[in-house]
């Protein structure tokens, strides 16, 4: 392994600009003549708009334009779309209402977009927005996930009972039969709490219009600028793709929330032409809370059936998923195909049946948030497993190992074909790292200090690199899920790689360059990774679902194969040898059995000067592209163990230790991979202990700032012990499985399993705040006293 190649903990190439304040985020972009947009948002969760009077506001200082949904309609600007079609149990399509970028006739959640004011300064835009008179007829709001279906209040006429779809997966009859034969059945009611993604960089957009060429440019905080261009062009109708450039420069975290195509970006780029000036908008944090797509929000009843020996026979799950007031870009896929196919976890479960009812409510749209469906599935599986082990009086680690899948490939009853894994190895390593043998003593020590100590396990699996495209298409996806790459070799042998993946913290400029450096045998500083601009990169599907390594890098790998193959042709001419006799290794083309060789840079120069070959027989230049469509999902898996100590007097849960063992397949940069695990765990711990988006009965978001919504801070978290096991992924050339979401998927059940172990009962929901834990601990104490 070279110091910069595959497997090395190379320090990040992109860091210099970030640590010196030279990062270039969307809000740092300033276009000449730029004006500022401010969105007037609905203060009501549900209301009819009887009228909007903008006359007074339009005459205020600095105002350049005020636009409403009516203006969008006149310009035939289409609504925002949901790109994944789900079908009901009876085969009928899901029931989706329209989603205009600016409200047309009705507002459906607090923060819904009523009008936009474009003015010389942001302050002037805000002042003018206050002078817009909107006559609302307030309507009752439906907020509660569990009570939305069939409520009197209807969010969209297209879904008269507020149900978007009733969907199911699995074999109902086989599952029912297995439950009838079961020796033991575990039943759990679970709530997966609603979260706000809260990337530290708020969403932002700068729309620009070049009247000379008729070209729109949108700078935006996107994880997938090409997908944004596709949707803005083909569905919303801003401009044809060749007249629309989307640039996602440095993006300050995404976690899913910046996948989607939102109202504000759409309106900014459209309004730039209307006012003839570049238009900039940056969300403040409360706007982000109100209008970024939220995550999770499931209400679930789940049951697990086991036989007399503790072998799992079957699982059945009913989930109600809150999709909010409108269907966001990929929202329908999250509680369906990203959820139910993961319910087999790491376990050999002969029969599974899952029903999902998706509902509309008067709340912000809900869509993918780090893990997207897989954390929700893992929470169901790992809570069921833990509680079953407890009810059967079995050690939770041994109970898991008894039921682990041990032979691969393994076909689950819910679509997935697991290709490879070694779940027992991860468990064994994690048990050593956490010092499971010493748990008894630690529990006694805690008890002597009047504290409650508990341990919680989570054996998670996720499906990443969602593909092949034909398969996801058959499940309802409106897009293919391949990735593209182009490797441009310059005449001096330096390399630019254009990738359709997008980095917003993942460090692609380093890891992708490691791959190129390793394969071409050139210094890593000679490699530049270019992403995030539809005028530079021809096409791409972006970064989410832990797909950049498994899919994005595989596309680069394929393009590098072609570069090397072309280089061999050039080298054969230069070295006057047969192409079949040319080898390439360590940055040199060599002739088999001789000492004749040509270094990569010289080969590049020869390719461009084209003096040594006939340009009609061999094209000059050295530039190759590839599209890579995977043959299967990848299946990262691992074991996380959390140990907590609870102070029953204050209800404060302290995470004392954390052991994570993950199998991500082959690893390009272990430093970056571990960083991804740390961050994922922190988000999962946030969900388990601290975070929860709360709407009151009127549909007002009462957690709409960092003063009300508890973000994990440094002193809420411990340092983490992170280990790895490796079973290379067989379905891509690099053997990579993906690592971006694992921590967030694994950690919530690990924390709750630890807390319930400490408490001695299962009666606690997420977030397990000090108040909730204190109440639960009083119950534990009174139980102990009664005994």
């Amino acid at each position: 392994m070279s110091v910069t190649g595959i497997g090395a903990a190379v320090r990040r190439k992109e860091d210099h600009r970030f640590i010196t304040g030279q990062g270039r985020y969307t809000d740092d972009v300033n276009r000449p003549g730029q004006a500022h947009a401010y969105f007037l948002r609905s203060p009501h969760a549900h209301a009819k708009i009887k009228s909007i009077d903008t006359k007074a506001a339009a005459g205020m200082p600095g105002v350049l334009g005020i636009f409403t949904g009516a203006d969008l309609a006149i310009d035939k600007i289409g609504g925002l779309i949901c790109g994944w079609m789900i079908h009901n149990k009876d085969g009928s399509p899901m029931r989706a209402g329209p989603h205009p970028a600016l409200a047309q006739g009705k507002v459906r959640y607090v923060g819904d977009h009523v009008a936009v004011v474009v003015a010389e300064t942001l302050a002037q835009a805000k002042d003018a927005a206050e002078a817009i008179a909107v006559d609302y007829q307030e309507l009752p709001a439906v907020v509660d996930t569990a009570k939305a279906a069939g409520a009197k209040t209807v969010v969209h006429d297209e879904a008269p009972d507020n149900t978007v779809f009733n969907w199911h997966l699995g074999d109902k009859d086989a599952t029912e039969k297995a439950f009838k034969a079961a020796k033991h059945v575990t039943k759990l009611d679970l709530v997966n709490n609603r979260l706000v993604p809260n990337a530290m960089e708020p969403r932002a957009a700068v729309g620009d219009y070049d009247a000379g060429d008729g070209v729109f440019t949108l700078y935006t905080t996107s994880q997938n600028p090409h997908v944004a261009r596709l949707v803005l062009s083909a569905f919303i109708g801003i401009a044809p793709e060749n007249k629309l450039r989307v640039i996602a420069p440095d993006v300050g975290g995404g976690f899913g929330s910046k996948i989607f195509i939102y109202a504000e970006e759409t309106v900014c780029v459209w309004a730039a032409k209307k006012v003839g000036r570049p238009v900039k908008w940056t969300a403040d944090r409360t706007e982000a809370f109100l209008s970024d797509a939220h995550g999770r929000d499931h209400v679930t009843h789940a049951e697990l059936a086991t036989d007399a020996e503790g072998k799992i026979l079957a699982m059945r799950v009913h989930t109600t998923a809150n999709l909010g007031a409108y269907l966001s870009t990929f929202s329908s896929s999250v509680p369906t195909y990203l959820y139910a196919p993961l319910l087999s976890g790491q376990y050999d479960i002969p029969a599974i049946y899952c029903e999902v009812d998706a509902v509309y409510t008067n709340t912000a749209p809900v869509d993918a948030y780090r893990g997207a469906g897989r954390p929700e599935a893992t929470f169901v599986v790992e809570r069921l497993i833990e509680v079953t082990a407890r009810q059967l009086g079995k050690d939770p680690a041994k109970f898991r190992m008894l039921n682990y899948i041990k032979k691969f490939p393994h076909q689950t009853p819910v679509i997935m074909m697991y290709d490879t894994g070694n779940y027992g190895a991860s468990m064994k390593k994690a048990l050593e790292m956490i010092d499971y043998k010493g748990l008894g003593k630690r529990k006694r020590d805690s008890s002597r200090a009047s504290k409650l100590r508990g341990i919680g396990f989570s054996s998670y699996i996720e499906a990443c690199g969602i593909a092949p495209s034909a398969a996801v298409g058959s499940l309802g996806a409106g897009v293919g899920l391949w990735e593209s790459a182009e490797v441009r070799v310059n005449p001096v042998g330096t390399v630019e790689v254009l990738t359709g993946s997008h980095s917003h913290g993942q460090g692609h400029e380093t890891t992708f360059a490691q791959l190129v450096s390793d394969r071409l045998g050139i210094p890593i500083d000679n490699v530049s990774i270019i992403h995030g601009d539809t005028d530079k990169v021809q096409m791409g599907m972006g970064t989410y679902g832990s797909r950049s390594g498994a899919v994005g890098m595989s596309a680069i790998f394929k393009a590098l194969d072609k570069v090397i193959a072309k280089g061999k042709k050039v080298a054969a001419h230069v070295l006057e040898a047969d192409e079949a006799d040319i080898d390439f290794a360590d940055g040199h083309f060599t002739v088999k059995g001789t000492d004749r060789k040509l270094d990569f840079g010289s080969c590049a120069l020869q390719a461009y000067v084209a003096h040594k070959f006939n340009g009609q027989e061999l094209e000059p230049g050295l530039k190759e592209g590839a599209f890579y469509d995977p043959t299967n999902f990848t299946f990262p898996a691992g074991v996380h163990i959390c140990e907590v100590e609870i102070d029953p007097d204050t209800g404060v849960t302290r995470i004392d230790r954390w052991a994570a063992v993950d199998d991500f397949g082959n690893v390009i940069n272990p430093m970056i991979v571990e960083g991804q695990v740390h961050g994922g765990i922190a988000q999962g711990v946030g969900q388990a202990l601290l975070e929860g988006a709360r709407y009151n009965a009127d549909g007002q978001l009462v957690t709409a700032s960092f003063m009300d919504y508890t973000m994990p801070r440094a002193d809420d978290l411990p340092s983490f012990e992170v280990g790895m096991t490796v079973t290379p992924c067989p379905s891509n050339p690099l053997g990579i499985k993906g690592c971006g979401e694992a921590g967030a998927i694994a950690s919530p059940p690990a924390v709750i399993n630890a807390i319930t172990d400490a408490l001695g009962h299962e009666d606690i929901a997420m977030p397990a705040t000090p108040q909730a834990v204190w109440r639960a601990a009083q119950k534990s104490i009174s139980r102990l006293a009664a005994e």
Binding site: M200, D715, S719
Partner: protein, 166 residues
């Protein structure tokens, strides 16, 4: 309009501004020093943290006119003569950043922490003292390590010793 005069990263600046201009807006929009970020508007996240006369303040809730005459250091002014500040170097070395958005505030906060609490900072001290800075990417694990190493390096006046990230 109001006149404000500041020394920013060692350079004197004077400008006529709307009196409601926040210090962070003045830095980002008037001076185009975009390394200082706005993450929350309510003094919670610390992305906007700068040094005002040598002490950490959150520039998103400070009016520019209220600090007339002060000396301001931003992330752009931390590196001296082209060499990275030891705390910047420590963040890079220990992978204390991912998306980079909270990073300028984290680094400025860390330097202030060292100024207040010295060069030997244990994990507990760092975690408690970092209460005013939020990061969504790193889980703080490597930020804590970076600050400990950066603090030590500041004491020695040298860059931190390169070591494998754990």
């Amino acid at each position: 309009m109001a006149t404000v005069s500041l020394t920013v990263n060692g350079k004197a600046v004077t400008a006529n501004i709307d009196p409601r201009t926040l210090l962070v807006q003045f830095l980002r929009e008037n001076l185009r020093l975009t390394g200082t970020h706005v993450g929350c508007d309510t003094s919670q996240c610390g992305a906007c943290l700068v040094h005002l006369d040598g002490k950490a303040v959150k520039s998103c809730t400070t009016l520019a006119v209220a600090v007339d005459g002060a000396s301001v250091t931003t992330i752009e002014g931390l590196a001296a003569d082209g060499a990275l500040h030891p705390m910047q170097e420590a963040f890079r070395e220990h992978h204390g950043l991912q998306c980079g958005f909270c990073t300028p505030g984290m680094i400025m906060s860390a330097v202030d922490m060292v100024n207040r609490r010295g060069h030997q900072l244990d994990e507990k001290t760092i975690r408690e003292d970092l209460d005013g800075n939020i990061c969504r990417c790193t889980g703080y694990h490597n930020i804590v390590k970076a600050i400990a190493a950066g603090a030590e390096a500041m004491g020695k006046g040298t860059a931190p010793v390169r070591q494998a990230a754990e």
